[in-house]
Amino acid sequence: MDRRNSIKTIAIGSLSVGVLLDACKSKDEAEAAKLAIKEAGTTFTLDRQPEELEHYKKVTSTTFFTMHELATITLLGDIIIPKDEVSGSASEAGVPEFIEFIVKDMPEHQTPMRGGLRWLDLQSFKRYEKAFKDCNAEQQLSLVDEIAYPKKAKPAMMQGVAFFNLMRNLTATGFYTSQMGGKDIGYVGNTPNQWNGVPDEVLAQYKLAYTEKELKECVKFD
């Protein structure tokens, strides 16, 4: 699952901003630690105030996560949201790039994320003498199982639970707000249409019906 050998250019939505991820094949961590952010201007498809553009430029001009951290985030993200028969994985939906952005936009996430990743590596090292990302899949899942279930986790693992909850939150939000995730969840709105009420078969399913009054006074479309 080593993604460090792949070169990915990910456009975040239709923003004309490309994030060039880890073009580095060498193990030189200092080199690899640099996320090359390629800015092709900041032309948003959204209405933006000058202050917002300035803020965006400032936020995206720095890199927060090290390559090591980002690789761990990518791994964890794909454990949380793997590819299945309905949709792709978190990394395929651009979740690691989203997380890199959002911790810079919401600095309150920085310490819990950085500290949580380091906590995970230390736990991993104690068990397997390896960083989390360098463990095999079985080892990784064994450790994840200890922090993924808040109610049955051991007291000593609760900091890991808190980190995993945050990681799960950010992964899910990043995934389901992507095009791929939106399709998966089945949101079919955000398009001009005519609201003609709840579909008949759904009303029937819940044994509900519109009243005479509603049918008479409400907007209807044939």
Partner: protein, 579 residues
């Protein structure tokens, strides 16, 4: 040192209007249609939702997926420029008090992102002191304002239904949209709980009313501004046609410092600083109309001191800044287990609820004065930042597709859970009437100025037992409604330790009362025509003139009062009472 000078505009206007929201937009519309020359000053930039588009954008078009920033506190797609805090424009609070102040800096102001909830005040709402002994009666009654409500319904368009309710008057309504699935469930719960649930009244066009505006296409995004101008915002619906008359000059990015007066104490215009070039300007007019928001207008008056108006303009009574009040607010949310695993379809609907609850209670049987209405939400909305948060509080609690799971988790099983719980949320919020008190106020902070050198407001507002008991009643009602529809409460089940979840004042963004009207010049700043007692060519037409604000959103009444004041002003000019 750079040159410092004041540029005086030579053009003499009939009216100088400060602020372009509901009140200022309506005044500009009415006066320009009457042939008066109008200068409309706005502290933010020009804005037209047809050009400044966030509507129909996808969550991934925002790098933060719709999360908020201090530039857009209601989310990255929301139309409002700025909100609780503006860089370089602070406000302060007295220790131990709370007031959160929303300021939209843009043409049209807060009407660009508001909820479009367009409610008339009822007959009782103007005479509350006569009913419960608290506060003050308005100098006008429902019969005085009804003709203007009627005209506004037709001019702007509002959907709803005539229900014949005593204090929630009938109007001229377009047909409302049918309730969504969860709204039918809410309606049925209301029947069980004795809470009326009727079609909402929103200023959104479900039918064509003129050639200038398009029809609603049901995207649920009114707060983003509408590209076809199918909902009411002052910028699209009032200022656009006002500009078309050729009688209106709009000056954007104009931060007004003070109202200028002459030796007779009459208003002669305003001075402002341009945010674009930081130069100082003056513009003159036969009348000055303030519509900068209740608090911003009070700030302007208090900052406009002169020999004739030593206490601030229009403030011989000392009431300017006082009686500041907001709607009370408290909310509760939950899930409807019967909606788990629901069938998908587009239920966006209009931008807001399709049903609401007008106040139904009898205060004689209750331990608090005044009432509240209830707003509802729920269903299959567009995913945004925060989507999926806290799944560990859901997926261990309810079987997913028949299978009991351990809370939390990951992987394919977790993806199934997100799908299963999507669209099952439901929530409700009360919006009630607080009592306007002289002791709740905004005043000029003696020590602080903004980046333009303008002294800023300091707030001093506290809620009393009245509002707390109202919030308690809201929570009791919500619990009953939730129970009646089989929902499980997931948040907002508050008790006395946090005042039953009563929002701090200002949070509901219905500021009013700071420049109140009345018949007694010693106890009010304006007469019943929104005209200053102490300065006959000065009017205030925002939320400032409100004596009390009912349990109704105030926009429709701001519009009606502004329309009425504008016609009065035109008449007074004709009669030469204002020269």
């Amino acid at each position: 040192m750079p040159d410092f000078q004041v540029k005086k505009q030579t053009k003499q206007y009939d009216a100088v209007i400060v602020g372009s929201g509901a009140g200022g937009g309506m005044a500009a519309y009415m006066l320009s249609k009457a042939g008066l020359k109008v200068c409309l000053l706005e502290a933010g930039p020009m804005y037209d939702p047809a050009k400044n588009v966030t509507q129909l954008k996808n969550p991934w078009e925002s790098p933060r997926r719709g999360a908020s920033t201090h530039f857009r506190p209601f989310g990255d797609f929301d139309a409002s420029y700025w909100g609780w805090q503006i860089d370089g424009e602070p406000y302060t609070k007295k220790e131990g008090t709370n007031w959160d102040w929303w300021r939209a800096r843009m043409l049209g102001g807060r009407t660009n992102h508001w909820g479009r909830i367009s409610l008339r005040f009822g007959p009782k709402d103007f005479k509350r002191k006569s009913i419960d002994g608290l506060g003050e009666d308005w100098p006008i009654g429902y019969e005085d304002i009804k003709p203007y409500y009627d005209r506004i319904d037709k001019l702007i368009g509002v959907f709803g239904t005539n229900e014949g309710l005593e204090n929630d008057p009938d109007g001229f309504f377009l047909p409302p949209p049918k309730p969504r699935l969860h709204e039918i469930m809410i309606k049925n719960a209301g029947q069980k709980s004795g809470v009326p649930v009727i079609p909402s009244r929103l200023s959104i066009l479900t039918q064509k009313i003129n050639d200038d505006r398009g029809l609603c296409f049901y995207c649920a995004q009114c707060n983003r501004g509408c590209t076809v101008h199918a909902d009411f915002s002052s910028s699209s619906v009032l200022i656009k046609p006002a500009i078309k008359t050729g009688n209106v000059d709009v000056i954007p990015s104009a931060m007004v410092r003070e109202v200028l007066t002459n030796s007779e104490g009459l208003a002669t215009g305003v001075s402002y600083v341009s945010k674009d070039d930081m130069m100082e300007y003056q513009v003159t007019g036969r009348t000055v109309i303030l519509a900068a928001s209740a608090c911003e207008s009070a700030r302007l008056l208090l900052n406009s001191k002169s020999a004739r108006h030593p206490n601030g303009l229009a403030n011989n009574s000392g009431v300017v800044g006082r009686y500041l009040h907001d709607s009370t607010g408290a909310a509760m949310g939950g899930v409807l287990p019967q909606l788990f695993g629901r069938k998908r379809y587009n239920e966006d609907g209009v931008g807001g609820m399709h049903v609401y609850s007008p106040w139904w209670g009898d205060n004689k049987k209750l331990d608090f004065p005044r009432g509240y209405h209830i707003e509802y939400w729920g269903g299959m909305g567009q995913p945004a930042y925060g989507f999926g948060f806290g799944i560990e509080g859901m997926n261990g609690q309810y079987p997913v597709n028949g299978k009991q799971k351990e809370a939390g988790g990951y992987g394919k099983s977790l993806k199934e859970d997100y799908r299963f719980f999507y669209g099952a949320g439901v929530g409700m919020a009360g919006r009630g009437e607080a009592i306007a008190l002289a002791s709740n106020l905004c005043e000029i902070d003696p020590n602080v100025v903004d980046k333009y050198g303008i002294p800023v407001l300091r707030f001093d507002v506290k809620y009393t037992e009245h509002e707390i008991k109202q919030a308690k009643h809201m929570k009791e009602t919500f619990r009953e409604m939730m129970h009646a529809m089989g929902a499980v409460i997931t948040w907002g089940d508050d008790g006395p330790d946090n005042n039953y979840g009563l929002e701090t004042p200002g949070k509901i963004i219905h500021e009013a009362g700071t420049v109140r009207m009345g018949n007694d010049p010693k106890a009010s700043a304006l007469n019943k025509w929104n005209q200053a007692h102490d300065c006959k060519n000065l009017f205030v037409v925002d939320g400032g003139p409100f004596v009390s604000q009912a349990d109704k959103n105030i926009t429709w009444t701001i519009l009606a009062l502004s329309m009425r004041a504008s016609e009065y002003l035109v008449e007074e000019m004709k009669k030469k009472n204002i020269s």
